[in-house]
């Protein structure tokens, strides 16, 4: 998400910069235009840029879903991938998370996480693509 978010912040910044310069050009010579970029000023302004960029991305779920799709993380919701992973797990071929964090996840928990409804037919919602 870093890339689209940074692009959104940059776009918001350029908009602010252009508006500031545009306002100063009314009644001032071009040489007199000065944009204040002191740390304090920029820090306060950055909050507004972050908020508007966040709202922009949050208002369009398709961007976030697309990022999940590009990274391949959305495949975890794919029934076929889940079945393949379950088979690999049963065959002991599934790569385990290092440091043993999940080592203490009980069989019951693992059952809930991975195998709930595996043998049933896919639901309608499962067939709806993420993006």
């Amino acid at each position: 998400m870093n890339c689209p978010f940074k692009a959104a912040v940059k776009a918001t910044y350029h908009l602010w910069y252009a508006q500031d310069v545009g306002q100063q050009l009314h009644g001032h010579a071009v040489g007199e235009v000065k944009v204040g970029t002191a740390v304090g000023v920029m820090r306060d302004l950055s909050v507004g840029w972050l908020l508007s960029s966040w709202e922009r991305l949050n208002g369009d779920a398709s961007i976030v879903k697309k990022v999940w799709q590009i990274t391949g993380l959305h495949a975890a919701f794919d029934r076929q991938v889940q079945r393949a992973a379950a088979k690999m797990r049963d065959a002991g071929k599934l790569w385990r998370v290092p440091q043993g964090y999940d080592a203490e996840i009980g069989d019951e928990d693992e059952q809930q996480l991975f195998s709930k409804g595996f043998d049933s037919e896919p639901d309608e919602d499962d067939l709806v693509p993420l993006a």
């Binding site: 998400m1 870093n2 970029t37 740390v39 779920a61 990274t71 993380l73």
Partner: protein, 180 residues
């Protein structure tokens, strides 16, 4: 199960820290003389940077941000004006301050307490009983040393046993696919 899946997608969360510049000017284009070897960028040094923790759920929703500014710990002088922060705090944003503006273990804990946990609880509440009260959520995070820190993981296991951490490769994530 038909209506459960959208809620479960809300419970799969990925986050990452990213460095930002107070002046996010583009480094790709300049009005300097053509073919110049070096072009200094004003206000581009790291002292004018800050860190943002960005999280999103598989449902397409973005979680509130954690914003970390550079300044001495214990004081709030490096944070933006209270009035500027007020609107964002109402949206759930969390602000922090560290000497280097980089995220730290303490800030990760604050992020879990201030953003992740309330979000997970809100989703459970919004599901109107479709999700269990202790429904597990999956956190997909990169292998940053703080994320893999024994102390942090022990704290997570103790305080938030319903939040399951799974590590994903950082840089090659773009080409990473569960299908392969």
């Amino acid at each position: 199960m038909k209506f459960l899946l959208p809620f479960l997608r809300m419970h799969v969360i990925n986050w990452d820290q990213t460095g930002m510049q107070l002046v996010p000017a583009s480094n790709a284009r300049t009005y300097h003389t053509k073919n110049s070897l070096d072009v200094n960028v004003a206000n581009g040094d790291d002292k004018r940077g800050y860190t943002v923790v960005l999280a999103s759920a598989a449902s397409g929703k973005m979680l509130p941000l954690q914003v970390i500014y550079g300044g001495a710990e214990g004081s709030l002088r490096a944070l933006p004006n209270v009035l500027c922060r007020a609107t964002t705090i109402a949206k759930g944003f969390v602000f922090a301050q560290t000497p280097t503006h980089w995220s730290s273990q303490g800030n990760m804990c604050k992020y879990i307490i201030g953003v992740i946990d309330p979000y997970v609880k809100n989703v459970i509440k919004a599901s109107n009983g479709q999700l269990l009260v202790d429904q597990k959520a999956v956190l997909l995070i990169d292998c940053w040393s703080v994320h893999k820190n024994e102390e942090f993981l022990s704290w997570m296991k103790e305080e938030y046993p319903h939040l399951i951490i799974l590590f994903v490769p950082g840089e090659p994530l773009v080409s990473f696919s569960l299908r392969t």
